[in-house]
Every structure is written in C-alpha cells, then in structure tokens.
Amino acid sequence: MSLPRPEFDYVRRLVHTHAAIVIDPAKAYLVESRLAPLAKEHGCASLEEFLRLLQSRAFGALHREAVAAMANNETWFFRDSTPFTALAEQVIPRLLEARGRDQGLSIWCAACSTGQEPYSIAMLLRERYAPVAACCSILATDLCEAALQRAASGLYRQLEVNRGLPAALLTRYFTREGLYWQVRPEVAALVTFQRLNLAAPWPAIAPVDVLFLRNVLIYFAAETRRQVLTEVRRVLRPDGFLFLGPAETPRDLGDAFQPVEAGNYICYQPR
C-alpha cells in the first residue's frame, strides 16, 4: 500500500462521519483511484499533498467533494433489468388498481448518482403508462452535487447510452447533441433532482408509493442501515414498495418490512 496508514484512516473517518460510508480497511486503493483525479484537479502535486490540504482546513466544499468522490457512482440505464420489469408489470398495476388510474404515483430514487435510474423509470412510465405518466412524479436524490448536476443536465456519453438502454428507447427519448445524447423534455419533466444525504437527518419528504434504494445500504454500518430504514418506513406509504439491491435486505429493522413477490423479483412492503 503506497498511501500511508494515517492518511488512509483520515479519509475513512471523513467519509464515515459525513456520509456514513464504511470503507473496508483493506481497500486503500479505492482512496488512491478515486481521490487522485480530484487532487490533480485542485492543483496538488500528489494525493498526499491533497490530503494534507484537507486536514489543514475546517470541513467545507473541498471536503464535500472528496466525500462525494469516495462514493461509488456507478450506474447505468435499467441496471439489473428485473427491478424495472417488476415495477412495470407488477408494482405499478397493483398501485394503480389501489389508487385509481386518475391518481399519479410518487416515486423516489434515493442515491440516483448521474440519473440513469430515474430516467429509466420515467421512460418506462412514458412507454407503458402514458395516460398516467404526466401525473407521476419522480424525486431523484444523491449525496454528490457533481453527479446531480450531470443528472439534471440529461446529457450522456455514447458509452453510457450504449449500456443497458434499449436502442428503441434511445431513438425515442434522446436527441443527439454533438458527442452527447440529450434526454428529451417529456422524460426530463417527470424527474426532480435534489441533494440529500441519506445518513443525515432527512428533510420533509412527501409520502412515496415506490422507493428505489438500490446498492446503497451495503456501504453503511448496521446502525446507519437501521436509521435509514426507519426513515424509509416513515416516508413509504403503507402499501408502498421498497426496491433494494441484490445483496441487500431490510432485516436490520427486524420485521418492519415484509418481502413481496413481484414476478421474478422480491421487493418489500411495510408490515
């Protein structure tokens, strides 16, 4: 390991304190790979110099950038596909049946990163539920300001639209803008982006019918997972659906949620 232990431990504490993300003690290379570009961007000759700069200052914008850079922002359109199939074919029909077709649905993508997940849901609503799509709202939140700015711009590189996005949807819901692909207004209009740190006290959030909280809990310690799931329980409607990542369950909150089959996918509802 080339990064000295005290510097690595400083970053681990910083990230845990401000985002509740637990970095495995054996993964110093993550600090090197994710913060070295930021160090260069801020004119530091080395990662060590950047870390000294952080340690010499009170917590501020630079620290927030470092914390955000340490979060895993990997995402792509229709990631894992089965949650989106379950949403389209099982969950939305059940909710519309319960609510009535003239009522919109409220969907929240927590930890949306650069926006592929909420835009995937927006396209799915336009494709499959066009009459009610306009009444639906998708709140998309993330810890990282830079990721949210990219998400809100709706601009994606070719490699990003190449991954997971059916070509038919690309041709229908994107326009070509030079080297980028731009999400069309009718899709973008369904999504609202907002910064939110899941591990900090939550602002007021209107009750939601569907909550995508995928590949997030795995980065938190048990106490933070319990805290987040308690808040989820509070904002999710009694018959709402919680979608987690493939390696996640809500078991940290005991039996507060029950697993529900939605086709080939398991999601969760408040018990």
Binding site: R163, G164, A167, T175
Partner: protein, 130 residues
Amino acid sequence: MHALIVDDSASMRAILKRTLSERGFEVTAAGNGSDALTLMAQLAPHLVLVDWNMPGMNGFELLCEIRRQPRYASVKVVMVTTETNKAEMSHALAAGADEYIMKPFTPDVVYDKLRLAGLPVPHSEAVEYA
C-alpha cells in the same frame, strides 16, 4: 448458443469472438455478407452480430436479407456499428434488428445488449463493493 459474427475487420471479429466466448457462446465468424448467409444456412445460429459498414453487401442489406427469410425469424440480429445517426438506427430497428451496439463498446455493453435482445447471457460472479 451459437453466434455468428459478421465483420470485415479481423481485429473486431477477434474482439467479439473473445467477448462472446467468455460467456459460453460457440462462435463462428464471417468477413462479409454473402459468406454469412452461407454459414447461416449451415450452422443455424441463434444470434448474428452484424457490422453496418462492410464492402459488398453492407450490414443493413444483410439484415434485410435475413429478415426476408421466414426460417430465420427466431434468429436474433444485433447491429454492431460506428453509425450513430438516429435515423439510421431507427431504420435498422424497423427492418427487424433486435438491438444496436455502438462502437466503441465494453464487454458489459455487449452482454447487456444481448440480454435486451432476449438472449440468456450469464452474469459475471465478480462484484466489487467499497
């Protein structure tokens, strides 16, 4: 699963062959459209990956020829191309392409696109978390 790669570039054929072999496909390659049609009749592949820009019969013409033949109705045809014009892409989908991969691509892009085309491509076991 048997896949037929059709591309006039030997290096692209090699890349795609390696990519598909890693997920268990049996792979055959052709350097042009007419060889591809001969091989299709012999091998009955489940999947054909077609480069758009080829000398002689181009990829779009090959796609149309495949879709003209009812015996190939269940064969998945995925276009692999540097052509990123939306109109051309829509044209290929309307002519019966199941998916469309833009170059450059990564192996994961190829696997995701094949899944979108309805092919059972196994996922990698490796998952990296922080």
